[in-house]
Amino acid sequence: MLLPEPMSRIVIVGNKARLDEAIDALYELKLLHLIDHTVGADEGFSIGAPRPYSEKAAQRLLFLKAMEKELDINDETELREKTDVEEIRAKISANYVEAAGEEIFKVLDKRNDILQKITAENARKEELLKISNLPIDLQLYRGYDSLAVLTGTVAADPTDVAMSIADSELFISSDKRVIAFFVKKDEKENALRVLADYEFTEFSVPEGTGTPEENVKAVNERILSHMTERAEIEKELLALKEKHGDNILLMDEEITFEADKGGIPLRIAISDYSYVVDAWAPTDKVSYVIEDLNAKLGSSVYIELQEDRTRDLHEVELAEGRFKETPTHMKNGAYVKNYKYPVQLVDTPRYQEINPSILLSIFFPLFFGLMVGDVGYAIPFIILGAYGLKTAKSDDFRAIATILFFGGIWTFIFGFFLYGEMFGMHFVGEAVGAALTWQSLFGLSFPDWFAGIFPYSVDAAGYSHYGISKMLKVTMLLKLAVYIGVIHMLLGFIIGFINVKMQHGFKEAFMEKGSWIMVFIGLVCLAWGITEFIIFDNSVEGMLLFVMLTGAILMAAGSAVAIKKEGGIAILEIPSLFGGILSYTRITAICVGKAGMALAFNFISITMISGLIGGIAGIIIGILFFSFLHLVVWTLAILSAGLHSLRLHYVEMMSKFYVGGGKEYEPLEIKRRNTKIVETEV
């Protein structure tokens, strides 16, 4: 579970005449991750040509995708009932795709025509509206032998200067923005020069007869009729979607497989008479693969196990280019697999390293719970998470639902047994200042055994606290966070050590990671000792002296090894370890921040609003405020606790061991969504 599944490389050699059969058999196995052939890697072999049926399949696929786009069909849709694949294949060979395409594209062409007409009419309408203010019929704008008509927009009224052009007449719109200037053809240049001062921009006048208003009216009528026609066509398209939609989806699925299968020869080595397939398969399935292929393909195939790939990186260095990378198959359980998503946000793990999913699955919800720690917020988390886990199908949403559900459970556990609070108020205890408790709020009296559940303390002022108060026990929570940080980071280093030991052997692991484990432990011991000495005034003797000495020795020895391995720059890394540990105090910071907000919001909604207004109205308004304000805290809790918990894993822990950059295991297989194979009895 910690490491990706062991893989072996096999080679399958067979008779080219039976390639189609072989491709089918490879797909049915659902176990082989194909290694793409490199041209020129083997003498006499090259990549093959696509299978004859794949060209037709590709054409049909193109057709189907166009129809899906036009009819707005989502190819990810899952139909309620699965259809027998034979039925679909029969339809495909009866040229269903082509026939449906013809029918649909005919209507689509009609729609395009109408759309074009509507666009043209709208353009004409726009032109007409420009001159609608001028009292001239359309036919009067053109058809003169000796007259030129200048129609356009101006920035100011040019009436005065227009008079200077002999035998001319100027029409101007009421808003003084549009003009029609009738001049002799000889004077046109002159007129244009004069109008240039008025920023004259010429536009063309649409052809036609009658007044612009009459024309606009006619255009409007035509647009309306086109719109009606368009609505009819849309209805027709909807009917076509209804008629062909499911079939298009089903055929898309089937033909995609056909096209994929047809493209396999492009990925394998082919000679004149034979084919060679290199592939990775899970080591424990190799014998099954050999048996199965032998049974299906008989004497036309020869299969050989090439190697069982170990985690040693030297092996990778020696391997041929295309065999260097081994695909990663993270074999996670039902719970852990939901944490694959946050890991993959960083990168896919390599074959030779421990998969961090399991660590995330343990610590992520734990940190989340510790940061939020409130029964009131936990319950909606759990409900929402459970609902998500029940309904969500996509990996992303499942990951979020898992985090909410298990984070919610830890939030509940910490919220109840550690902090003993709900919506920022302790269950049991007296109200101290602004800090209310459920007991004081409703005047409840809890039985002794209930109060006994919570950690009990008395503060300096003599008040009893049932449950750890986030606001008062900051120092304790800070210490807790630091201890968690030490354990978490140490775990990161240890996993790094195991990884390097697997990849390069013990010596290298000791030099690269062991040195840092020593420095880290040494640093922690020293820091603890110094804190005891400076802050708590303990004298350096006995146990304390021993711990500090051990720390100093470990640190010196570890640093020496690290410097030998990495050079002087390693020294600069040491303070960052300290920073890393302190970074975990964010757990406390968020916890206290949230408690502070809850305290203030409770004060606003209960003491201020409900208390000041009083009566039923006060209670109702108070409850409304209480709900809204706590919803704010709750939403912030998801964001801050989730993001910071993730960050602690990414930056502080995973950076100690995780490299990533692996390639995911993608076996050849047909994932049927809407079609199924019905076994016929013989």
Binding site: V346, T475, L478, T585, L643, R647, Y650, V651
Partner: protein
Amino acid sequence: MEPSGMLAIGAGLAVGLAGIGTGIGQKDAAAAAIGAITEDKGMLGKSLMFVALPETIVIFGLVIAFLILFVM
């Protein structure tokens, strides 16, 4: 001024100034991260890591503020 007042001002400065520092750091990192994610959605995780890095500074500020208020 009362020593407790000075302590409170010190704590406020520790968080406030560290917050400004974080803000400046995150501003650049986040802008670059958004650019990177627009190019390639797969960069989300790595970007998140870099954007969250400067946040440590404000946490240090907060820790110092806690130490000032509760330990000193």
